[in-house]
């Protein structure tokens, strides 16, 4: 298990407007984090509808120890609050998910979504501008044609680098319910957007049409028993996708089988353990995130207390189950009261699919090494970490005597939760979002 060190604190807001972590505004809460396919860029979305993109510094021989730090590359307002007049409902501008598209040219493309609308953004650099127009002067004022005596050809002159983001496509009006996931297909032509009851397939070029591929809305809404909680395309097979449900099951569908994939090809569910039954069994079995491994061979799901790794070839039970914070099992009632039980934690694979990571409370996040079966709990906090310090493993004490460095369950801060994390696609660099702060940790360099 690698030790994570070289703690580089990146505050979500630029330094001049830092708010201390105890009094951040709600709009600054990070709601999604995503590396692009090369790891060069890292995008974060927040509750205020903004997207901030970080870019990794090129490694330079002059400063070898500053190996690839991430700096702010672009910031833009992706979504604004809207109002649905028909239903008298406000549509939140919170960015639910960001997904990068693979890069084809100099520009970068990403999809960002709020509850109702998906947008395709193009992020491009501009480092030259034309100068020497004939019809307007340097400030842009129109010149009187009568004063023009000569003609010249405008030339491109270098300027300070400007990164601009433009909305290239807006995919809207396709979802009645709240969008919870988007996933780009490996064919790089289509993507899907998922809400509570339906999954729609879009072509990246076409915004006025989408195909409904899954619809679990019952004819009579009174019979509703489960909703879709997450969905993802297979990383290699462009016809395969999975979606998870609030009942703790995962369905794998093949789009070649039928136009409407209501009938699954595979159904993954683990029978419930009756000894653990409680009022809240259904809530804690609801899957909050589902991720394919990079290889496409495995599937990882996160429910409230565990992370499970499934083999696509075995539907009856997961291959591996990891307890994230089982000490909360006895506290489910109070977690229900303060709404923490509804928190949707995400989970991520590392580049080689050997380690999985997910968040917890008290700004803790957990990593599980699938090969060595070792796990570690780390904390993302400013107080405990200095730059270039190695992160110290933390431990939660579940009862009995508390050792010196341990934290007891009752002193955990449930308002500090790590829901969103991301792992660089090939290196050991992780991005952890703790409320309004983004932490980027890198592996120790020898």
């Amino acid at each position: 298990m690698k030790c994570f060190s070289r703690y580089l604190p990146y505050l979500f807001r630029p330094p001049s407007t830092i708010l201390s972590s105890s009094c951040h505004t709600e709009a600054d809460i990070i709601s999604t984090v995503e590396f692009n396919s090369t790891g060069e860029l890292l995008a974060t979305g927040d509750k205020g509808g903004r997207v901030v993109v970080f870019q990794r510094e090129q490694e330079s021989k002059n400063q070898p120890h500053r190996r690839g730090e991430y700096n702010v590359y672009s910031t833009f307002q992706s979504h604004e609050p809207e109002f649905d007049y028909l239903k008298s409902l406000e549509i939140e501008e919170k960015i639910n998910k960001i997904r990068w598209l693979p890069q084809h040219n100099a520009a970068y493309f990403l999809l960002s979504t709020n509850d109702k609308t998906v947008k395709l953004w193009k992020i491009s650099e501009r480092d030259r501008r034309p100068e020497g127009y004939n019809l307007k002067d340097e400030e842009g004022r129109i010149r009187d044609p009568a004063t023009i005596t000569t003609l010249r050809v405008p030339v491109l002159r270098p300027m300070d680098l400007m990164v601009e983001a433009t909305a290239r496509r807006i995919f809207s009006n396709a979802h009645t319910y709240h969008i919870n996931s988007i996933s780009v297909n490996s064919d790089y032509e289509t993507f899907m957007s998922t809400d509570d009851l339906r999954i729609n397939l879009w072509n990246l070029e076409i915004t006025n049409k989408s195909f409904n591929i899954v619809d679990i809305k019952p004819a009579n809404m009174e019979e509703l028993t489960e909703v879709i909680t997450a969905a993802e395309f297979h990383p290699n097979q462009c016809n395969t996708f999975v979606y998870s449900s609030s009942k703790g099951s995962i369905r794998l569908c093949d789009m070649r089988a039928a136009a409407l994939c209501d009938n699954h090809s595979k159904f993954f569910e683990e029978p419930e353990d009756p000894s653990n039954r409680s009022f809240f069994s259904e809530i804690i079995s609801s899957i909050s995130d589902v991720k394919f491994s990079h290889s496409g061979r495995y599937l990882m799901t996160r429910d409230y207390l565990t992370v499970k790794v499934w083999d696509l070839n075995m539907e009856s039970k997961p291959l591996e189950t990891y307890q994230v914070h089982d000490y909360l099992r006895s506290k489910l009632c109070s977690l229900y009261e303060n709404d923490c039980i509804f928190d949707k934690f995400e989970c991520v694979w590392n580049g080689s699919d050997s380690v999985i990571m997910t968040g917890s409370y008290n700004n803790f996040f957990r990593m599980f090494d699938r090969n060595t079966k070792r796990d570690v709990t780390l904390e993302a906090s400013r107080e405990n970490s200095k730059p270039r310090a190695i992160l110290k493993p933390r431990k939660v004490c579940v009862g009995g005597k508390r050792r010196k460095d341990e934290i007891s369950v009752d002193s955990l801060d449930f308002s500090k939760k790590i829901l969103h994390t991301a792992w660089h696609p090939s290196e050991n660099i992780i991005a952890v979002a703790a409320t309004n702060n983004l932490y980027i940790f890198q592996d120790k360099v020898n």
Binding site: D196, T229, S246, P274, N276, S278, F279, I283
Partner: protein, 280 residues
């Protein structure tokens, strides 16, 4: 009996959550409300399991009651290793789970009937300002002509309301839609069900534990909660018989109006409990 108190508390918390979800920004979250309604249903089953210890619906109910009791003994007393009771409950649980699902159609039908009746009562009472107009509810029962002509969609999330305690002999009836629940048109100051009879808690029931009595204003008045519980749990025969029992006075909650409003608005909202997320 502690589990009944616990179940009661969980029910009132759940009801509060459902109420609060309406005023949350971004609209009602279907997923969260579905989960809350599942918890509410489980808590309700536990709470009422004592009423029907085998009396009605024959063996089905008995198994369900047994399961509920066994389960709560498990969960609430915090026993992780299944003891003798646990082992029994495990076994009966699997079979009763199936049986619980079976009477669902019956249960839903009777719930809908009750919802319909519930809607009719306040309509006749001039005190209660049922929302008029609004969008048509597609699930409206045909036989509801005497009720308000159009009923706005109810944003209360659906719960698969397995009213195991419902009278199975009512049989499946035409699905009643009555979703006369919406908040917007309701005026806050009216007292609910002033004219409509709400059956008093049955003698054998647990008196409402006033644990939340002095709590934050958004907590339910537990007296109202137990009347809600009995509305749902009393197999609706109470509503049918119309004993003339008075509603719990919503205004009894002496603190800020929001607590009262919460209760007032919850009562009619929950009576068409089974009619679902028609707002969507």
């Amino acid at each position: 009996m502690e589990y009944k108190v616990e179940a009661h508390r969980i029910m009132s918390i759940s009801l509060g959550k459902i109420y609060n979800s309406r005023v949350q920004r971004g609209g009602i979250k279907l997923h969260k409300n579905l989960l809350v309604s599942l918890v509410l249903r489980s808590a309700r089953q536990v709470y009422l399991s004592d009423y029907y210890g085998g009396a009605c619906l024959g063996s089905q109910r008995a198994e369900a009651g047994e399961w509920a009791e066994g389960e709560t003994m498990e969960s609430l007393e915090g026993r992780s290793s299944p003891g003798a009771a646990g082992a029994d409950s495990c076994e009966s649980e699997t079979e009763s789970r199936e049986t619980l699902r079976a009477p669902e159609t019956n249960a839903q039908a009777s719930v809908e009937v009750a919802a319909e009746r519930n809607a009719e009562e306040p309509a006749s009472s001039s005190d209660y300002n049922w929302p008029q107009g609004g969008e048509t509810d597609e699930e409206r029962a045909p036989g509801q002509a005497e009720d308000s002509t159009q009923v706005p969609s109810c944003p209360v999330p659906e719960s698969r309301f397995e009213c195991g305690a419902a009278n199975a002999d009512e049989g499946p009836q035409s699905p009643a839609a009555a979703a006369p629940c919406c908040t917007r048109k309701r005026s806050a100051g009216k007292s609910p069900y002033a004219g409509s009879p709400v059956k008093r808690p049955r003698p054998g029931s647990v008196p409402p534990a006033n644990t939340e009595g002095g709590d934050a204003s958004e907590d339910m008045d537990t007296g109202n909660v137990s009347s809600l519980i009995t509305i749902f749990g009393s197999s609706f025969s109470g509503l049918l018989s119309k004993d003339g029992a008075q509603a719990e006075p919503g205004a009894a909650d002496g603190d800020s109006g929001s607590g009262t409003i919460c209760c007032e608005q919850m009562l009619p909202n929950l009576s068409p409990w089974s009619t679902a997320i028609v707002a969507f």
